[in-house]
Amino acid sequence: MTTTTAESTAERTKAPLVRLTDAGKNYGNIIALQGVTLEVSGGEVTCVLGDNGAGKSTLIKIIAGLHQHSEGSYEVDGQNVHFGSPREALDRGIATVYQDLAVVPLMPVWRNFFLGNEVRKGIGPVSLMDVAFMKKTTKKELSDMGIDLRDVDQPIGTLSGGERQCVAIARAVYFGAKVLILDEPTAALGVKQSGVVLKYILQAKERGLGVIFITHNPHHAYPVGDRFLLLKRGRSLGYYSKGEVSRDELTALMAGGAELEELHHELEAGGGVAAEAAHMLEEEVKELGITATPEVRP
């Protein structure tokens, strides 16, 4: 665990929006997460990196209020919290954009944008939705994020994956999120679409939001992140601020030299095309300076 200088200055001025200290989670006798420390302040992006099964989802669920941590502490604005439901987390300004985005594909973009938070005019049960306002606002909020839709009446299912992601982010921002948790927003996207999503992450950061960006791709995390938490098998592999780690080091830590070597041997044994791939992999490993260091083993 590394204590960064940025962390201590933040502590002195103002408590971070979200801070986990040595947090852990057990499901019965299974330890899903252990000793994780993380924080995010306004205008910062904290990246959580880890391979499948590293405990990223458990971490999100704790922060989002779906589960409660069983060890350590979870503070929001310096106050200790135990969220009973996602609604409570939402009320504290912590919004999660899940991989399935929580949008209804057949419904128009504007209906999705305001779903569950419809703007009404009139009183009581006979209140109407203010359709004109909602359409106008959706269009404006999206164009502020740089998405220029030709028609907010089109079903959201007709948008591209990146655009849908951005609608979900814009929605969370509009409804008062202070901290955005983005669950692998670039996982299913192509290179260009991923770039678009990264741009929105930076835009959210510029607006003063704290962003927790979950990903398994260091190439996506490094350009936008201020802090990096690496998870492996439910434990923290390291917690770095941007100045302390280079992208290559991050990649090396993520990939794990031993795993790459293993993959290299497997591919080589395959012969033919696989051996060729193994050769390329070997060169890349050399380039990144990855060695099978003992520290990457949990």
Binding site: V104, M107, S143, D144, M145, G146, D151
Partner: protein, 352 residues
């Protein structure tokens, strides 16, 4: 980043130039009820050509009356289908409501309106139980309501026989309050020499209110969302379970209304009627463009679907065809309408 600045600096253009690519026709074709409307026009023209009696205004009035008796429950069944669920008990629930109102007022010698209100409570409870079982057990509504369908069917017969020692109820036309109730549920009036049944007016009101709720209120938004993706709706705070239970209770309400019409139209109720009508309500909704899987559809479409059913039902009689063939035609009509719907929807989606 520069894009954002651009938007902030210059006022947005009054009209997006890309919107002009969508013609008013393609905009119309994306409505769910368009396929049904085309089908209705075609069927109307066919009967108009082949059946001379079909052309008169009084025939149209009869067709509209028949359509309304199926169209009123179909309003709620369509809403429920958009919300992602089915109700197979709707057909016999109509009969149950009529039986309860009739027998309650007769046996306890109360004012007719008391029986009517008791029946309303019973119908809403049936809807609530259906909805509650569906959302609490997670069992598909097809199975839950199939169960309640058989239970109600058995109750209708068994209780009626127990109470009246007959398969039908006693005539209630002498009970106090019958006449005023008949005025509300089963009267008719004449416009330009053509007799119009009051159910037609109620049907139009119900369709208008349901359409307004569906398209212009937050409840409508929740209904679409619940049927389109229940998990996503829950994640953004839509009370999915309450929406579903409410929809089942709406079906209960419409069944009650139809049951009251049957009671005050006929004075007595046979306990065995209503079987199979649930399918006609569902057919009307599906022909009208409701997706069987939920999240898409329209109440106006369901009304057009019920109108198609009414036209086919009476048109065959007016045309002098053998009515034995009716259900064959109905089935073919259903298939044709669904194919037409699919074709229209695909074309409309491609045009976007």
């Amino acid at each position: 980043m520069t894009q954002t600045l651009d938007v902030g600096v210059k006022p947005p253009p009054p009209r997006d130039e890309r919107i002009s690519r969508r013609s008013p026709l393609s905009r119309l074709l994306t409505r769910p009820e368009v396929g049904a409307l085309l089908g209705a026009i075609i069927i109307y023209l066919i009967f108009f050509i082949v059946a001379a009696p079909f052309r008169s205004a009084s025939s149209l009035s009869s067709v509209l009356y028949l359509s309304s008796t199926y169209g009123i429950p179909a309003v709620a069944v369509a809403l429920l289908m958009i919300g992602g669920e089915f109700d197979l008990s709707a057909g016999v629930a109509v009969t149950s409501s009529a039986l309860v109102a009739s027998m309650f007022s007769y046996q306890f010698t109360t004012n007719m309106w008391i029986g009517v209100l008791v029946a309303l409570v019973v119908a809403l409870v049936i809807g609530f139980v259906n909805g509650y079982l569906v959302v609490k057990t997670g069992i598909p509504s097809f199975l839950v309501t199939l169960g309640t369908f058989f239970m109600l069917r058995g109750l209708n017969l068994a209780l009626t026989k127990q109470i009246t020692s007959n398969v039908g109820t006693n005539d209630v036309s002498n009970i106090q309050g019958f006449d005023s109730a008949k005025k509300v549920f089963a009267s008719s009036f004449t416009v330009g020499g053509v007799s119009i049944r009051v159910t037609l007016i109620w049907w139009i009101i119900f369709v208008a209110v349901a359409t307004w709720v569906l398209l212009r209120t937050h409840l409508g938004n929740w209904i679409f969302a619940t049927g389109g993706s229940a998990a996503s709706s829950r994640a953004v705070g839509v009370p999915v379970n309450r929406v579903k239970i409410g929809l089942f209770m709406t079906v209960g309400f419409m069944c009650w209304f139809t049951g009251m019409h049957i009671l005050f139209n006929n004075n007595t109720v046979q306990s065995g009627i209503g079987l199979g009508n649930e399918f006609i309500y569902i057919v009307a909704a599906v022909v009208g463009g409701c997706l069987l899987t939920g999240g898409y559809g329209s109440v106006i479409g369901a009304a057009i679907g019920a109108f198609i059913f009414g036209m086919a039902n009476l048109g065959i009689v007016y045309a002098g065809w053998n009515p034995d063939w009716f259900y064959f035609f109905l089935g073919a009509l259903l298939l044709g309408a669904i194919l037409l719907n699919n074709w229209v929807r695909k074309r409309a989606e491609a045009m976007r």
